[in-house]
Amino acid sequence: MSSPHSISSQQLTFILTGAQVGSAMLALPALLCTEAGQHAWMAVLLGALFPLASLFFIERLGRRFPGLNFVQVNQTLLGKIGGAAAVLLFVVYVVFFEMEIISSFGRLVQIFMLPSTPIWATLFLAMACVVYAGSKGGKVVGRINETLFFGILISLFFILIPVYYVNDYTNLLPLGEIDPLELGRAVLVSLYAYAGSEVLLVYYSYVKAPDKVISAGLTATALTVSIYLIVTLACLLVFGPDKVVDTIWPGVTILKVAGLSVIERLEFPFLAIWVGIVLRRGINLPFAAALSLAQLFGNENRHGLAMLGVGIVIYFAALFPQSMMVNFMLVNYGCAAYFVIGILYPLFLLGVAWIRKGVVKNA
């Protein structure tokens, strides 16, 4: 495969992890504990069923159309106009989702790092990086994800330092008081953290070894679950289920409860690394949207221009939420949107493919 976007299965692992792990990692423990208390970590495990379902459906779909890209699959199954409409719907979803991600990123940077810098300046710089990285093509996106993945490991190390100094195992107990309704609600909340796995819809056709997509997806899900599990357990051990819900980003606040003699304020180096982690999530989805648009207009090589267009729209959309409270409201819509695009949509396409077996065979 000579496409400038072709990626290895290992890069796919990191792209899928990068598309999921971002700001959600910092807020997730509070969101889950609000619903499930000390059982929040169980919601992390059960929530993984969503990206697994998404992975399974997309892989089954992709396997039926070897060599066809996302746009071609849609147009084969839904017709030229129906397929184009579906692709545009995907692009709109990405713009909406990225609006929330980039906007939250800007707000967090403003709150913890650059309080006097206007949000438009922070977002402009973030989007400049996103557009530049995406304009270089899938291979570069894959390599960026590979490299920046190790930032997550470093940031996890920072999060574990306070756990060493301040922890109380009774915060995790008792294990047996599970209320299925509360746990179910927490699992639904976790949807937001797993959103991003749907980028496989676009990336599937660029994986050099499609037979390794499942194993790459499983590894990515295992990595994502492990990261969320570590952060959630760490916050539970340090704050307890009753106090963790008082903070918006316990993943950052936890860093304020302990310090080392050489690094008194752990949150500052952590946030510097975290900027890279979030931008990974910022790059992967818009690149998928830009590539889909370029494919739709028949010239995959113009993905750079499409990336610029998508980036500009996301930039202005990200300026729209006027406060962090609006972002929290958007998260709820984001959960629903991911469920539709990440799970129902590939399932729907699979269903159409099953009904229109003849078309699939010809394709």
């Binding site: 650059l114 309080p115 810098t117 109380d168 008792p174 008081e177 409860v257 302990a258 304020r265």
Partner: protein
């Protein structure tokens, strides 16, 4: 290619000129670094700072005092202690802007002192802004002042750079050589969860450096409800299982012999049992340490039987202190200040979460204390 270079130059120029370069740059000469702060119930207005206090929202409720080192070489005093009467703690920042144009680096503060009156009124409101303000570190250490916090900050301390430095050192390092715990902002907050109650070191004027650790302040959630002296404070630290180290007196082996001293660190184990609505707690305090001083006349080496006697005698004495404190807690304070209810919560969280902090829960609990002392060596002497 030249177009690319132009775009790159423009982008790099933007990056260089924007972000912290333009908006968040702070000139270090225009910053002030508070080291310690104190909150008291409002009283008087010696600094004539109260001119804004018109109307219900402006009525001063709290005096916020801040200790600032004077960094200017021309300054005659080493520190400034500003006392700002204000309706709320965060609103005191407004008052400061009328006397000091420099930017306060709030995140630099290391110590928060609470005047006893304010601590008894409740700390939730005055301390809320500390948890809300992103730059504030939750490692700031806390203490209650037996009196007013602003008086402590104004106390001269000849052997240290200033009172803030001394208090930071005293309150942060005390657990390494006394049985009075170090409590930071984070700990104070999580100790207000169901089944927990905070304790804070208590300080008062005295000693060579102007201020001494005089015991521990007991809280019912955010309200101070009692005070313990140094000996009771030691028992409380051991019962709570707060890891610390300190000196303990060793009883004489034989009548007429001199008393000795040991250096111990502590641990604890708690078991909880339930029969209907009655709860039984078994607390095992474990002390492990070394003999640092034991003047005995016999000239014979200290053998295992003698060590055992010393261990038993110390265990008995500490057990008595602990039992007395448990009695005081159950009869007078009626709050779990020894941090055992959390073990009941850990077993029956959903069922007892709403009742665990009621006074009768801890008052009616059956609490047994057992102390185990282990001496591991006796130093260089036989």
């Amino acid at each position: 290619m030249p177009r690319r270079v132009i775009v790159l130059v423009l982008l790099l120029s933007y990056i260089t000129l924007s972000l912290c370069g333009c908006w968040d740059a702070k000139d270090v000469d225009k910053l002030v670094f508070p080291i310690a702060a104190g909150y008291d119930v409002h009283q008087g207005d010696p600094g004539n700072m109260n001119q804004l206090s018109i109307g219900p929202l402006e009525e001063p409720q709290v005096d916020v005092s801040v200790l600032l080192p004077n960094l200017s070489p021309e300054a005659t005093a080493k520190v400034t202690v500003e006392v700002m009467p204000a309706a709320t703690v965060a609103y005191a920042r407004d008052k400061r802007s009328y006397t000091n144009a420099s930017l306060y680096v709030t995140g630099f503060n290391k110590v928060i002192l609470l005047g006893e009156d304010l601590a008894r009124q409740g700390t939730f409101a005055p301390m809320e802004s500390l948890y809300r303000f992103p730059s504030v570190s939750h490692t700031m250490v806390l203490a209650v002042v037996d009196g007013r916090a602003d008086e402590v900050l104004k106390t001269p301390t000849p052997n240290f750079e200033n009172m803030g430095v001394y208090l930071n050192n005293l309150l942060r390092e005390n657990k390494a050589n006394s049985f009075i715990p170090t409590v930071n902002l984070h700990q104070f907050n999580v100790w207000q969860s169901p089944g927990n109650n905070p304790v804070l070191p208590l300080i008062k004027p005295g000693g060579i450096n102007g201020i001494i650790l005089s015991g521990i302040a007991i809280f019912n959630k955010d309200h101070m409800v009692g005070k313990l002296n140094q000996r009771q404070a030691r028992a409380l630290t051991l019962l709570r299982g707060i890891k610390s180290q300190g000196y303990l007196p060793l009883a004489p082996q034989e009548e007429g012999e001199e008393q000795g001293t040991g250096f111990f660190d502590n641990d604890r184990k708690v078991e909880v049992e339930r029969q209907g609505d009655s709860y039984s707690f078994k607390i095992k305090v474990i002390l492990q340490g070394i003999i640092q001083e034991l003047p005995h006349q016999s000239g014979q080496p200290i053998d295992t039987s003698e060590v055992k006697k010393i261990e038993e005698s110390l265990a008995q004495s500490i057990q008595q202190d602990c039992t007395d404190l448990v009695q005081l807690m159950q009869d007078e304070f009626k709050v779990d200040c020894i941090d055992i209810s959390k073990y009941a919560v850990a077993n029956w969280r959903r069922e007892i979460k709403d009742q665990v902090d009621r006074p009768d829960f801890i008052s009616n609990a059956n609490i047994q204390v057992q102390v185990e002392v282990k001496i591991t060596n006796a130093g260089e002497q036989k």
